[in-house]
């Protein structure tokens, strides 16, 4: 019995090796430099929990490719190899290594979420294929555990902590606040990152943090901490967190007569925020975001129209981030001079003042973008575009 099992197992193993090897040898014959297309691998969440993000990015990417292919890049057209990672870490890793080893792509785009992006990075690093994520905002994506930059990993969206820095500058310079209070979610890394950086930046600018309070996800009663904050008389209140608790916090703050400006990050971006907090509470609330459809610059207007023409609706932040990735790639490919992963990597790292619909960005030495942040103001619950803030 055992023997039979052993034979079967070894046959399976051999078969697996054979089938695994064959396509890769074939595709290696076709040298990417001589091919007439530039192969781009898309590793996205097309099904599963994060599918709306993945699909949103892909829509933006496909629109941009259509536009770019009209003239071509370096005399070639972009050809995509699209694969679904089902919003799962393991699948994201599999797709990434399949694209890198078998499909002979020059660059990997995606995944959408930070968790899936982390899972996809080892395959990109081992195979020396650049990977660009347009929406993984977690701080450590481009840096490995020892603090070294992951050479082949790039990001075109700002870091979580970066929003904290920008909001502190906004509070101090634009709102003229001297004293700020922070009420942060202790159970999320996202909120902790924002809160830490807001604190440091605001203090360095010469402001002072009068009180730091905390809450946990799923809390519903914030009146005690808000009463405390009210007693300290701050000029602004910074609440990094997600819309569910933020909605309740804004509502209860207004109920307690705490009518100071409330600031936060892209976690505010949800129609649920208005539902929970109520229209009349959502005044004097400001948050940072990647993109605003209300931005009236020329590039954004053009993007909005062509998106509407292709898909029938106006683009959201994810569509915009996806769209920018292709032009970001085009910019680097032209500077690299040929579709070679190694040269592309160098060119991506040297990106300077690239102008996209989500802002102007330059890649810093840690492969994160230095990028303008869009600040939105809520008036009676309606998000209105306030300004773009450029990093110093």
């Amino acid at each position: 019995m055992k023997k039979v099992l052993l034979i079967v197992m070894s046959m399976v193993l051999v078969l697996g090796m054979l089938s695994g090897c064959k396509p890769s040898t074939v595709s290696n014959d076709a040298n990417s430099k001589d091919a007439d297309t530039i192969r781009v691998g898309l590793n996205y969440e097309l099904t599963g929990g994060a599918a709306t993000y993945g699909q949103g990015l892909v829509d933006g990417i496909e629109l941009a490719i259509e536009e770019v292919n009209k003239e071509g890049i370096l005399g070639k057209k972009i050809e995509t190899v699209k694969a679904d990672n089902k919003s799962e870490d393991t699948e994201a890793a599999n797709v990434s290594s399949k694209l890198a080893t078998r499909d002979n792509v020059v660059v990997l785009l995606g995944p959408a979420t930070s968790g899936n992006t982390k899972a996809a990075t080892p395959a990109a690093m081992q195979n020396k294929i650049p990977l660009i994520s347009g929406s993984a905002t977690e701080d450590g994506i481009t840096i490995d555990g020892n603090g070294n930059v992951r050479d082949y990993i790039f990001k075109t969206c700002f870091n979580d902590s970066f929003q904290g820095i920008m909001m502190a500058e906004f509070a101090f310079n634009d709102l003229g606040a001297k004293n700020a209070a922070i009420l942060a979610d202790t159970t999320s890394d996202y909120a902790q990152g924002l809160s830490k950086n807001f604190n440091e930046t605001f203090t360095n600018l010469g402001g002072s943090i009068v009180t730091m309070e905390a809450y946990q996800q799923k809390d519903t009663d914030f009146k005690a901490v808000l009463t405390n904050i009210k007693g300290e008389n701050p000029d602004v209140l910074f609440v990094p967190g997600y819309y569910e608790e933020v909605g309740l916090i804004v509502r209860q703050a207004r109920e307690l007569g705490l009518n100071i400006p409330i600031l936060g990050g892209d976690g505010y971006e949800s129609p649920k925020l208005i539902e929970i907090a109520g229209k009349e509470s959502l005044n004097d609330v400001y948050y940072s975001s990647h993109y605003s459809p209300l931005d009236d610059t020329e590039e954004v207007a053009k993007f909005k129209e062509s998106f509407k023409a292709k898909y029938g609706n106006y683009p959201d932040a994810f569509n915009a981030l996806g769209y920018d990735m292709i032009y970001f790639l085009k910019d680097a490919l032209i500077r690299a001079g040929e579709a070679d992963p190694e040269k592309l990597k160098e060119a991506l790292a040297a990106t300077k003042d690239f102008k996209g619909v989500t802002g102007t960005l330059s890649i810093d030495e840690k492969h994160n973008p230095l990028k303008s942040v869009t600040i939105l103001e809520l008036k009676e619950g309606e998000p209105t575009f306030l300004k773009k803030l450029d990093p110093k």
């Binding site: 799923k218 519903t220 009663d221 009146k223 005690a224 405390n228 309740l248 007569g257 929970i276």
Partner: protein
């Protein structure tokens, strides 16, 4: 000083919710010695019934509160008949496990039907507040409603238990089930009735929370249910005024702890204080030491 008063107002409102839920725990425990862990879920169901009535039928505050209390009392009786009655005479551990199962069953059944997303209550009570001392103290209309309704329901309950024939029967069953039965008390009916009252109170708490905090979700019952259970034990489980006292104390302790710089470890400190009090008074604040008969 103004801040302290404001915090007390916050604490009393939070405490009323715990008190209303704790009453149901204490009544059921008093009568059949069962810790009904599904109680927090009945509170959640109450919130959803209230949500459906106000959102889809456009009912006002009072009718939705009453209808949701009726709905929950029926649910409570059904749960008792289906899940608890058949095992009333088995060991206490199996009853406890059944209660936990019912709790999870309700949570995830609701999750299936209404989806896990948070729902928002329509504004049935207009935002209106009284501000005192130049806006330093603000009492919202909703705070007053919550506290007033809790106190009213508690007094009503106290009246039913102490003054009516039904209440007398309840107390008799609580003391000695067999003896009560011999005296002609319909034990099944009385237990059913106890579940109905306890669940109605939880339902009321559900609607009040929906209105006060504006958001509900299928898992909202878990934490308040646990805290209300603690409040019931804290006040002395099985004793009705004890549950109310426990509920208000827990609300106050939580608020005061987060008011004086402990918002990060609010729950830890609140529960540490509870442990201390229980070490000194093991039967709870109002509990009496009962000698075990050998």
């Amino acid at each position: 000083m103004e801040q302290l008063i404001q915090q007390l107002i916050n604490g009393v409102s939070l405490g009323s919710i715990y008190a209303l839920i704790a009453l149901g725990y204490t009544m059921v425990y008093g009568i059949i010695n069962l810790i009904n862990f599904a109680h927090g879920e009945i509170y959640m169901m109450g919130a959803y019934i209230g949500f459906a009535l106000t959102t889809f039928l456009g009912l006002g505050f009072a009718p939705s509160l009453i209808l949701s209390m009726i709905g929950c009392s029926i649910l409570g009786m059904v749960i008792e008949k289906v899940a608890y009655k058949p095992i009333r005479n088995s060991s206490r551990i199996s009853a406890l496990i059944t209660a936990i199962s019912v709790s999870l069953f309700l949570q995830y059944t609701m999750m299936y039907f209404v989806s896990p997303q948070t729902r928002t209550f329509p504004e049935v009570l207009k935002r209106k507040s009284i501000s005192l001392l130049n806006g330093k103290i603000i009492i919202d209309q909703k705070n007053i409603y919550i506290v007033a309704i809790t106190v009213l329901l508690m007094l009503l309950l106290q009246y039913v238990v102490k003054k009516t024939k039904l209440g007398k029967a309840m107390r008799a069953v609580a003391q000695d089930k067999e003896a009560a039965e011999l005296m002609g008390v319909d034990v099944n009916k009385i237990i059913s009735f106890t579940f109905a009252i306890g669940s109605a109170l939880a339902g009321a708490a559900g609607v009040l929370v929906g209105i006060y905090y504006n958001t509900i979700n299928p898992l909202m019952g878990a934490t308040p249910g646990l805290k209300a259970f603690v409040a019931a034990v804290f006040g002395g489980i099985g004793i009705i005024p004890g549950a109310v006292l426990g509920g208000f104390s827990l609300g106050m302790i939580e608020t005061v702890v987060s008011a004086y710089g402990g918002s990060v470890f609010k729950d830890a400190v609140a529960f540490a204080i509870l442990i201390l009090i229980l070490l000194i008074k093991p039967n709870g604040l109002l509990g009496k030491t009962v000698k075990e008969k050998v």
